[in-house]
Amino acid sequence: MLYREAGQFKTSYSADQAVFPILQDRIGLIAILLIAFVGIPVFGNSFLLQAVMIPFLIYSLAAIGLNLVTGYTGLLSLGTGAFMGVGAYACYKLASVFPNVNILVWIICSGFFAAGIGVIFGLPSLRIKGFYLAIATLAAQFFLQWCFVRIPWLVNYNVSNAIEVPQRKLGDVIITGPSATPTVRYLIVLTIVVVMTWIASNIVRGRIGRMWMAVRDQDIAAELMGIRLLRTKLLAFAVSSFYCGVAGALLVFMWYGGAEADTFNINQSFFVLFMVIIGGLGSLLGSYLGAALIFGLPILLRILPDAVGVPMHSATIEHISFLIVGALIIIFLIVEPHGLARLWQIAKQKLRVWPFPY
């Protein structure tokens, strides 16, 4: 009833092909953006911003990155953690070699370094597919993690192998380092993530996105149609790693404030992969939903016993959250293999004809 499109006529092709053709969708989007930019910083407390919203946005960005290569192009990649690490370390080195350039410039540039490394490790994708490619990306994961430990130049010869984020300003406002307020950091992360999501949305709806999806569905037929496989796959790796690299740089500079090689280990890769699986392969909205669920669930589980008043050991909560995440993955795959995004689509579909069932 609310979602009825009756009365909304399109008078041009561009209006018809718009991403959000229905007015209610557009209103909803603006409402969400308003809440994100204005509502949450004003009404949310420091814990909400620092420990929930910032990492959620960062992981959504990484999930979008992984979704581009695994969901849209069908190339399973288990090296997400390492690519995030490349972005983070690249940003750190750039920031320390050129301290006078604005840190935001370097956060974006670090994506290019990650993209380069992603392309190198994506080269085997021409010869191998499926699980085998996953193993090639695993090689990337372990090798890059080893590099983070064994190349002291990356950590500026710091003995402990950990990097710490220097304090940087944007104009007069401190944006990195421990003195930066959660609100400032949240707004910066939000802006970057929103802009990059918009770019990703345009990519996947355009020619490149369609090439990727053709490769995913049947790459031999795509090649016969004239799509250059190597370029398409490498482009997928490049763009995906760019997103993951920027997410990694944001992770270290805007959230943790520091990192060590173990921050970008194989568990990080699995973490993002679960978000993509549960959120829905091949859907940008799914990346957000998956990130919200997989990231939010352990936090919820940690807060819940306190809020409800049941005393539980922290270790038990940890174990239960593993159990629930694993069970959720299985349940989701059984119930809805296409993830939360598909559930949302179905919900929207039902809303359009509500209160009629069909």
């Binding site: 191998i128 193993i135 695993l138 372990f142 031999i220 593993f322 159990l323 694993g326």
Partner: protein, 327 residues
């Protein structure tokens, strides 16, 4: 020139100079290879019969070992004084537990996901991994435990051979591991070729539909195959934990079995063995003789690079079936 000397000549010079160390490295590599092969064996069993790449194999190893040690603790707590009796009763109970796990997995994970693409089943085993991790930690606790090797009559101690001017140590437990692994492989080979169920398994591996049409119950076969894999996991867990304690850190080492599978082929049991041995020995030799050039610690990715090189030239592995993509 110096670099070339270091890469191509020096390691061999070192090998010749200290042949006892070379032998020891080869032996350590062999032992590691046997353990990788066992894990890979579990993968191969499940992949052959159900086409599922069971990512949870590693955690099944840990879970089986934990169950064994945990049940042993419960039984001795209940008052069974003879530790050997308790150990073997615990072993029997653990086998029963692995059977229950196999049934549960088949009913709750495999049956609802019949006919889904492989990638979905692969992801489901991810979920299974986390469920088993959480369950294992909840029931048994997260602290590392010692494997009950003596109670299971597994040998301790070592043979020190004085040869080549130095000494080479052969741990008894490692020899036992190699022997037990070979026996198990031989047993599985016999099982697959001579028994009715073994033939049914091979039929299911070839084609689900054809097997169904001949009257083979897919569900039964899957339970059996996951159970067999669970047994392999149990043996692997006992052997591995005998060398170092039972803890969840073992699960990461199971990831090392993936290169083994690539080398040997996903569907071949001899491939898993040969691949395991090659990866094990290659890894140890590489780490010991070429590792210092790169700063040590190359073990973590060397296996993957070996596998990657193999993938580029022979994607189906040494013994696997050629992958034919039908359009």
């Amino acid at each position: 020139m110096d670099i070339l000397y270091k890469i191509f000549l020096d390691p061999f010079v070192q090998m010749g100079a200290a042949p006892d160390l070379l032998l020891q490295t080869l032996w350590e590599g062999l032992v590691g290879g046997v353990l990788y092969a066992l894990i890979a064996l579990g993968f191969v069993l499940i992949f052959k019969a159900s086409g599922v790449f069971n990512f949870a194999q590693g955690i099944m190893v840990v879970f089986a070992a934990l169950t064994l040690v945990g049940l042993y603790g419960v039984l001795t707590g209940l008052g069974i004084s003879n530790s050997h009796v308790a150990a073997f009763v615990a072993l029997g109970l653990t086998i029963a537990v692995m059977f229950i796990v196999a049934v549960a997995v088949e009913k709750l994970v495999l049956r609802p996901l019949v006919n889904q693409p492989d990638i979905i089943l692969f992801m489901a085993t991810f979920g299974l991994t986390y469920v088993l991790i959480g369950l294992g930690e909840l029931i048994f606790g997260g602290d590392p435990k010692v494997m009950i090797t003596q109670q299971l009559f597994l040998p301790k101690g070592a043979w020190d051979l004085q040869i080549f001017g130095g000494f080479v140590t052969f741990q008894h437990i490692d020899v036992a591991a190699a022997v037990i692994a070979s026996l198990m492989v031989a047993g599985l080979a016999v099982f697959f070729s001579k028994t009715r169920i073994g033939r049914a398994l091979r039929a299911v591996a070839d084609s689900h539909k054809a097997a169904l049409s001949v009257g083979i119950s897919l569900e039964q076969i899957w339970v059996i195959v996951w159970f067999a894999s669970g047994l392999v996991a149990l043996v692997t867990g006992i052997m591995w934990a005998a060398r170092s304690d039972v803890s969840f850190a073992l699960q990461i080492i199971a990831l090392r079995a993936l290169p083994v599978l690539i080398l040997g082929g996903f569907t071949s049991i001899p491939g898993a063995i040969v691949g395991g041995l090659i990866i094990g020995i290659g890894e140890k030799l590489g780490e010991f003789y070429w590792g210092p050039l790169l700063g040590n610690g190359i073990e973590s990715w060397l296996a993957y690079f070996i596998a990657l090189v193999f993938l580029l030239f022979r994607p189906q592995g040494l013994f696997g079936e050629k992958i034919i993509e039908r359009v």
